[in-house]
Subunit: 624 residues, 2 copies
């Protein structure tokens, strides 16, 4: 990996920073955040501006270029990678280390008095703008929005913004029509006394209209905004995608409709001017609802007195609670996904043990191959983490030729993978050994399993927030002085983003919404030993009502039902460390895997994988 | 309980709200918060202004008086009490109910355009001022500070501000001299690059100078402020308390000292002008450190650019970590406290069972009597909660003649009590039955006990925040659909306030600081059945290092050691619901009670109580 030479690019960027063609007044610094105009976690190639200007293409990082300096802020996961990918023009700012200045402090320390700092107002979220602007102003500088993205002006071979065909989802997948979703949204708007709602997150647009796209890898979304009024629906989207008869039919663009359900299709780029027109039309007490993570540009289009900002939008919250059709779809997707993994693990056992020719990349490709054989498979839901031995300890590992390791009978293998099917999204991690695990490896695996079970079997009152369950996942590890440095679970979309809000299970205190029946999250404790191995056991679980002996204040209780039905390798379990209750949980889980996945393997005529499943789901016996 | 007639008082208040003698311009509304100038939890009678003006004397409530209205905001604990204590002049605003307006919204709805709303700037914390001021301003009104408290101007028989003698604590109690505390504080100030630190909380002043007072009931504090510079120490305190030779000697007021340790004593009332002088003397980049909960008046004395505000002060954090002398003192205090409770419970068994003449008040008084016989007893640390049967379900119950119930062999009795000794502060809850508890009562008690043990025996990494342990206390209750609606634990002072920051164990997400070895918190899960009974099991526990098999990232682990050593009534335990590990915990705990408290009962010649202790600490036997 040799660094990208950026001398010429930086020279060009510094020129446009002073060019009256792009800036009203010269800016002495320009901020290049990662991220797109929708605050997406995964971004399209045309939005990888920070990677283009610096060479550093990790998932998190912010570049700032001044007349003299170029600096890159990123976190511990990427110190090494950033150092490798960037040339000497760049200073690496290691976030999380004590002596690393914040972006604001650094700017104040290097800028001449009364400087202007530019940023693309579409890329920076409103709350970040506010913080940075305040810090700069108090030091005598100004943060200024620059409409045209300055990196784009010098990015001559910038890829086109993707504009791929759309997929329409009918009621059998979504359970609720887009019309009914609009009705429900408008009722939430009435409750909060807002007249307009602006949809800025890509998965929220996709969910609202029961459409899917493929503009961004792994996320079945498409570039669009929507503005919903009490009597109007405006969809901002580019390309000839609205010419597709199936889409026109789905959105009833050519039907005679009640005016409040008539969708006005507008160019993607006209969102700002349209929103400004809305902002200008408001009377006192009329409000516009936006996510507080919406871009500064869109937020500013609405005068401050008229804004109604919330951390989670009503769509985000409605989307998180899956209806019957979505839940059934997720079940089907997880059954198909389990079939693919049974095939894979059976194949691995046959290949790894005697031949030793399977690498991490080959295993990942094989997993994709088996998944792609399943009905309604669309794509993977994230880059497969296929890691053996020490690579397993790198939590966000993705095998590349430079690091690619061969699976063997001597090392633990960790596979974290998932797919998008038309009926649901999967995300599953299994950790296994193809030879004989050491007592220590089994011990650690068993603590992780105990944590997994503690969350999965937890019963808790309605209204409980996920972060209150996080310690259950760690307790067995903590007892022995062990831990893992990531959260325990995230929300999972229904044929949508594999990571979604507003709920999760984490020690980090974020403003998560309470868990409700119908929500779907992951349960994925782990243990990682640097340089040796990684262990993680992940199921996707559905929040369901729990039957309890009593019912305090008639609140009702909740628990989880695993949707993922893939055997947990019993060879890795030290049965004597399990309680009888935990042992029963494993046996019940495996019984269900055998019944449900076994029937599907049978149906698909996958007899060898079925034999593997039966072997792997033999009950554990605990010696008292 | 008949309501206080406030017609005349409100008339007078409305007059002074317009009187040029007190207000520059008339105010159309006046806010009367509960609380004093130090944001204390417990306040002196002279600070009970809200109770004086309204009649409502619960611990939480805010009164707002306009020309037409008088309204009182309080929470669910006090709806009934407030309704009883206030006359028809007042509207009760039930906080937490959906339709109850916030104070800001209500003000906006009732005030004429362009109104002024007055408040005492010494009583309102700066963060509350900011929020209210912003809301009022955006509706065209103004929040204005009124220096003279308007309630005080009409409170003709207002009690004097207490000014009781001080108690000096020597090194054997405090472990660290006040000089060394000043040195440590200045080092924290250097680290954060601040030149001044303003001590506003009463317990922080007391801790810093190793002094105690009795100006506020239950809290051994005295009215004072301090301003610490890098070379100066200013103590703002009234009365002839500084004439006491012991205090002069302790503070070395008459010694020749290095100038940076010379304490300048100034009048309590001069804090504002002195702080304004400090504020006016600052050069750019010179900062003054204040709690973000300090009063608006003091915060405003420092120009905004010079303020350094934190939720927890360095004194608050240092005070929470007890040193060896403090820990030993806390141990001694808890041994004495346990002796008193063994005497009490032995006495109760003798009195309640055959005679049935003991009321909640008699039991509380008897508890105080036994405590007062112990060495270095000062006072109670809070109003004793002595409650039987349905009264036990009222979480903040305090027996009064109207509610006073007689203890019997048919009801559960809950006693939550504690004391201030010169060497430490105690807080303990025991729940017991003098007859035969029902199977259901035992079941509930046992779930609470399991939660208590789960916290007490928890092992967790250094750096863990207390709120991550809260669910451990609830898990056994949750499994059966039960719960309790309060936090699990609070910090406890060392011969200081029984509730102190910055740590605690609660499902409420507050900005708690991580637990460290030496911190002391309570562990007090409960279960309450309205109209029937209350159960709570509370120990004060010390955070100590834990030995673990492994040591991930060399972080080290922590656990708790109970300081409270009072038997937990085994009659209330359903042994079959305990695991063997839990059963062992109870037996080990009781063994320690027997050894440590038994020896002290022996030493004090309290033979009958010793016999009771031995009976009550018989080991549990679990039938497998």
């Amino acid at each position: 990996m040799s660094p990208k030479i950026t001398t010429e690019l930086l020279k060009q960027l510094r020129q446009v920073m002073k060019s009256p063609k792009y800036v009203r007044e010269p800016v002495q610094a320009y901020i290049v955040p990662s991220g797109d105009a929708h605050q997406s976690e995964y971004i399209a190639p045309c939005d990888c501006r920070r990677a283009f200007i610096s060479g550093f293409d990790g998932s998190a990082g912010t570049a700032i270029v001044t007349e003299q300096h170029a600096a890159m802020w990123t976190d511990g996961r990427y110190f090494l990678q950033a150092a490798h990918q960037m040339d000497n023009n760049w200073t690496l700012m290691k976030m999380g280390l004590k002596d690393t200045p914040t972006q604001e402090d650094w700017l104040v320390s290097v800028l001449p008095e009364g400087s202007k700092v530019g940023v693309d107002p579409f890329i920076i979220p409103a709350d970040q703008w506010k913080r940075m602007s305040k810090a700069l102003r108090s030091a005598g500088h100004d943060l200024v929005p620059i409409k045209e993205n300055l990196v784009d002006t010098i990015w001559t071979d910038c890829p086109q913004r993707p504009c791929k065909p759309l997929l329409t989802l009918d009621l059998s997948y979504t359970g609720v029509s887009w019309r009914d979703k609009i009705v429900a949204l408008r009722s939430k708007m009435s409750e909060r006394k807002v007249l307009w709602f602006v949809v800025t997150a890509l998965d929220e647009v996709a969910w609202l209209f029961n459409l899917r796209g493929s503009d961004v890898e792994y996320n079945p979304v498409f570039f669009a905004y929507a503005v919903i009024g009490m009597n109007t629906i405006r969809l901002f989207i580019d390309g000839d995608r609205m010419m597709d008869p199936a889409v026109r039919e789905h959105l009833q663009l050519d039907s005679t409709l009640e005016p409040e359900f008539k969708i006005q299709v507008m160019p993607y780029g006209s969102i700002l001017s349209e929103l400004q027109a809305v902002g200008a039309s408001l009377s006192p007490k009329e409000k516009v609802w936006l996510s507080d993570k919406a871009s500064y540009a869109l937020t500013e289009a609405i005068p401050k007195a008229y804004r109604y900002l919330t951390p989670y939008t009503p769509i985000c919250i409605a989307k998180a609670v899956k209806n019957g059709s979505e839940t059934e779809g997720m079940r089907r997707a997880h059954i198909k996904d389990a079939v693919a993994l049974c095939e894979l693990f059976n194949w691995l056992e046959k290949e790894v043990v005697p031949k030793g020719t399977v690498t991490e990349i080959i295993a990942a490709d094989k997993a994709e191959e088996f998944r792609s054989q399943q009905k309604d498979f669309v794509e993977l839901s994230f880059a497969t983490i296929s890691s053996t031995g020490p690579n397993g300890a790198i939590i966000h590992y993705k095998p590349v030729p430079e690091t690619n390791r061969t699976l063997s009978v001597n090392e633990i293998y960790l596979l974290d993978s998932g797919a998008q099917y038309k009926d649901g999204t999967t995300d599953v991690t299994r950790t296994m050994h193809f030879g004989t695990p050491s007592a220590y490896e089994k011990e650690c695996f068993t603590y992780v399993l105990k944590g997994h079970i503690a969350v999965s079997a937890a019963i808790f009152p309605n209204g409980t927030k996920g972060h209150l369950l996080d310690s259950f996942a760690r307790s067995a590890l903590w007892d022995c002085g062990l831990d893992y440095l990531h959260g325990t679970g995230h929300g999972v979309g229904s044929f949508l983003n594999v990571h979604e809000g507003p709920c999760g299970i984490s020690y980090k205190t974020f403003a998560d919404e309470p868990l409700e029946a119908g929500m779907i999250v992951s349960d994925e404790p782990g243990y990682y030993e640097d340089g040796s191995f990684g262990i993680r056991i992940e199921n996707v679980v559905l929040v369901i009502p729990a039957e309890t002996k009593y019912n305090f204040k008639s609140r009702g209780s909740l628990t989880f039902e695993p949707l993922t039905l893939v055997p947990i390798q019993t060879k890795m379990i030290d049965v004597n460390l399990l309680t009888q209750k935990e042992c029963n949980w494993v046996n019940d889980y495996h019984q269900k895997c055998r019944e449900v996945i076994g029937a599907e393997l049978e149906r698909q005529g996958r007899h060898e994988a079925l034999q593997w499943l039966i072997r792997e789901t033999e009950p554990l016996i605990r010696v008292q």
